[in-house]
Symmetry: C2
Subunit: 87 residues, 2 copies
Protein backbone atom coordinates (compact mmCIF):
# COMPACT_ATOMS: atom_id res chain seq x y z
CA UNK A 1 0.00 0.00 0.00
CA UNK A 2 1.00 3.65 -0.32
CA UNK A 3 1.63 5.51 2.91
CA UNK A 4 1.96 9.21 3.68
CA UNK A 5 3.58 9.66 7.07
CA UNK A 6 3.63 12.97 8.92
CA UNK A 7 5.34 13.37 12.25
CA UNK A 8 5.30 16.07 14.87
CA UNK A 9 7.72 15.06 17.57
CA UNK A 10 9.85 16.74 20.18
CA UNK A 11 13.05 18.21 18.77
CA UNK A 12 15.04 15.72 20.86
CA UNK A 13 13.61 12.79 18.94
CA UNK A 14 13.31 14.23 15.42
CA UNK A 15 16.60 12.79 14.13
CA UNK A 16 15.82 9.32 15.46
CA UNK A 17 12.28 9.30 14.07
CA UNK A 18 13.39 10.61 10.68
CA UNK A 19 16.19 8.06 10.44
CA UNK A 20 13.82 5.23 11.26
CA UNK A 21 11.17 6.39 8.79
CA UNK A 22 13.73 6.78 6.00
CA UNK A 23 14.53 3.08 6.28
CA UNK A 24 11.06 2.39 4.93
CA UNK A 25 9.81 5.50 3.15
CA UNK A 26 11.03 8.37 1.00
CA UNK A 27 11.49 11.79 2.49
CA UNK A 28 9.33 14.42 0.79
CA UNK A 29 9.43 17.51 2.94
CA UNK A 30 10.15 18.60 6.48
CA UNK A 31 8.36 15.97 8.63
CA UNK A 32 6.67 14.24 5.69
CA UNK A 33 7.58 10.92 4.09
CA UNK A 34 5.75 8.72 1.64
CA UNK A 35 6.10 5.52 -0.30
CA UNK A 36 4.99 2.02 -1.08
CA UNK A 37 5.27 -0.27 1.91
CA UNK A 38 4.12 -3.79 2.64
CA UNK A 39 1.74 -4.54 5.50
CA UNK A 40 4.52 -6.39 7.27
CA UNK A 41 6.97 -3.52 7.00
CA UNK A 42 4.34 -0.99 8.05
CA UNK A 43 3.70 -3.03 11.17
CA UNK A 44 7.43 -3.21 11.81
CA UNK A 45 7.85 0.55 11.32
CA UNK A 46 5.02 1.27 13.75
CA UNK A 47 6.50 -1.04 16.36
CA UNK A 48 9.88 0.58 16.02
CA UNK A 49 8.44 4.09 16.19
CA UNK A 50 6.52 3.17 19.31
CA UNK A 51 9.83 2.54 21.02
CA UNK A 52 11.16 5.95 20.00
CA UNK A 53 8.28 8.39 20.45
CA UNK A 54 6.63 9.54 23.65
CA UNK A 55 2.87 9.15 23.56
CA UNK A 56 2.28 12.23 25.67
CA UNK A 57 4.44 14.55 23.55
CA UNK A 58 4.76 13.23 20.04
CA UNK A 59 2.38 12.51 17.21
CA UNK A 60 2.76 10.45 14.06
CA UNK A 61 0.02 10.19 11.45
CA UNK A 62 -0.21 7.49 8.82
CA UNK A 63 -2.44 8.00 5.81
CA UNK A 64 -2.73 4.56 4.23
CA UNK A 65 -3.90 4.40 0.61
CA UNK A 66 -4.77 0.92 -0.61
CA UNK A 67 -4.49 2.24 -4.13
CA UNK A 68 -3.12 5.46 -5.60
CA UNK A 69 -5.47 5.22 -8.56
CA UNK A 70 -7.69 7.92 -7.11
CA UNK A 71 -5.04 10.24 -5.76
CA UNK A 72 -2.61 12.81 -6.98
CA UNK A 73 0.09 14.95 -5.45
CA UNK A 74 0.76 18.56 -6.24
CA UNK A 75 3.59 20.67 -4.95
CA UNK A 76 3.53 24.44 -4.74
CA UNK A 77 6.81 26.28 -4.34
CA UNK A 78 10.02 24.52 -3.51
CA UNK A 79 10.36 20.83 -4.29
CA UNK A 80 12.46 19.45 -1.49
CA UNK A 81 12.48 15.67 -1.49
CA UNK A 82 13.08 13.21 -4.27
CA UNK A 83 10.23 12.12 -6.47
CA UNK A 84 11.04 8.50 -7.09
CA UNK A 85 7.55 7.62 -6.02
CA UNK A 86 5.31 10.34 -7.39
CA UNK A 87 1.72 9.22 -7.16
Amino acid sequence: MFVILVYDVNQKRVAKVLKKCRQYLNWVQNSVLEGEISDANLKKLKMELEKIIRNDEDSVIFYCLRTTKYSSREIMGLKKGGDENII
Copy 2:
Protein backbone atom coordinates in the same frame (compact mmCIF):
# COMPACT_ATOMS: atom_id res chain seq x y z
CA MET B 1 -12.54 15.67 -2.97
CA PHE B 2 -10.54 14.97 0.15
CA VAL B 3 -7.30 16.89 0.52
CA ILE B 4 -4.33 16.43 2.83
CA LEU B 5 -2.25 19.60 2.88
CA VAL B 6 1.25 19.75 4.34
CA TYR B 7 3.22 22.97 4.44
CA ASP B 8 6.84 23.74 5.17
CA VAL B 9 7.21 27.48 5.07
CA ASN B 10 9.50 30.09 6.54
CA GLN B 11 8.64 30.93 10.16
CA LYS B 12 7.71 34.46 9.07
CA ARG B 13 4.84 33.17 6.96
CA VAL B 14 3.60 30.23 9.05
CA ALA B 15 0.82 32.14 10.80
CA LYS B 16 -0.50 33.59 7.54
CA VAL B 17 -0.40 30.25 5.72
CA LEU B 18 -2.06 28.40 8.59
CA LYS B 19 -4.79 31.03 8.90
CA LYS B 20 -5.53 30.83 5.19
CA CYS B 21 -5.59 27.01 5.13
CA ARG B 22 -7.90 26.87 8.14
CA GLN B 23 -10.51 28.79 6.19
CA TYR B 24 -10.87 25.74 3.97
CA LEU B 25 -9.54 22.71 5.84
CA ASN B 26 -9.31 21.25 9.32
CA TRP B 27 -6.09 21.42 11.24
CA VAL B 28 -4.76 17.99 12.16
CA GLN B 29 -1.23 18.45 13.40
CA ASN B 30 1.66 20.87 13.21
CA SER B 31 1.77 21.86 9.50
CA VAL B 32 -0.89 19.35 8.41
CA LEU B 33 -4.51 20.05 7.49
CA GLU B 34 -7.12 17.91 5.83
CA GLY B 35 -10.70 17.93 4.72
CA GLU B 36 -13.33 17.78 2.04
CA ILE B 37 -13.03 20.64 -0.40
CA SER B 38 -14.64 21.46 -3.72
CA ASP B 39 -12.58 21.89 -6.88
CA ALA B 40 -13.50 25.56 -6.93
CA ASN B 41 -12.40 26.15 -3.35
CA LEU B 42 -9.19 24.19 -3.85
CA LYS B 43 -8.37 26.43 -6.79
CA LYS B 44 -9.14 29.47 -4.68
CA LEU B 45 -7.00 28.24 -1.81
CA LYS B 46 -4.07 27.62 -4.14
CA MET B 47 -4.37 31.07 -5.67
CA GLU B 48 -4.47 32.67 -2.25
CA LEU B 49 -1.51 30.65 -1.00
CA GLU B 50 0.47 31.63 -4.06
CA LYS B 51 0.19 35.21 -2.94
CA ILE B 52 1.50 34.39 0.53
CA ILE B 53 4.31 31.90 0.01
CA ARG B 54 7.72 32.44 -1.56
CA ASN B 55 8.50 29.91 -4.25
CA ASP B 56 12.19 29.87 -3.47
CA GLU B 57 11.78 29.22 0.26
CA ASP B 58 8.43 27.63 0.98
CA SER B 59 6.77 24.39 0.03
CA VAL B 60 3.13 23.28 0.16
CA ILE B 61 2.05 19.78 -0.81
CA PHE B 62 -1.50 18.81 -1.69
CA TYR B 63 -2.47 15.15 -1.67
CA CYS B 64 -5.81 15.01 -3.46
CA LEU B 65 -7.98 11.94 -2.95
CA ARG B 66 -10.92 11.67 -5.29
CA THR B 67 -12.41 9.17 -2.88
CA THR B 68 -11.54 8.13 0.66
CA LYS B 69 -12.96 4.66 0.09
CA TYR B 70 -9.49 3.19 -0.19
CA SER B 71 -7.76 5.15 2.52
CA SER B 72 -7.51 5.22 6.26
CA ARG B 73 -5.82 7.40 8.83
CA GLU B 74 -4.03 6.20 11.90
CA ILE B 75 -2.55 8.31 14.64
CA MET B 76 0.22 7.18 16.95
CA GLY B 77 0.82 9.11 20.14
CA LEU B 78 -0.79 12.44 20.80
CA LYS B 79 -3.97 13.37 18.97
CA LYS B 80 -3.69 17.08 18.36
CA GLY B 81 -6.29 18.31 15.92
CA GLY B 82 -10.00 17.74 15.73
CA ASP B 83 -11.37 14.68 14.02
CA GLU B 84 -14.53 16.01 12.46
CA ASN B 85 -13.42 14.55 9.18
CA ILE B 86 -11.81 11.23 9.98
CA ILE B 87 -11.33 9.27 6.81
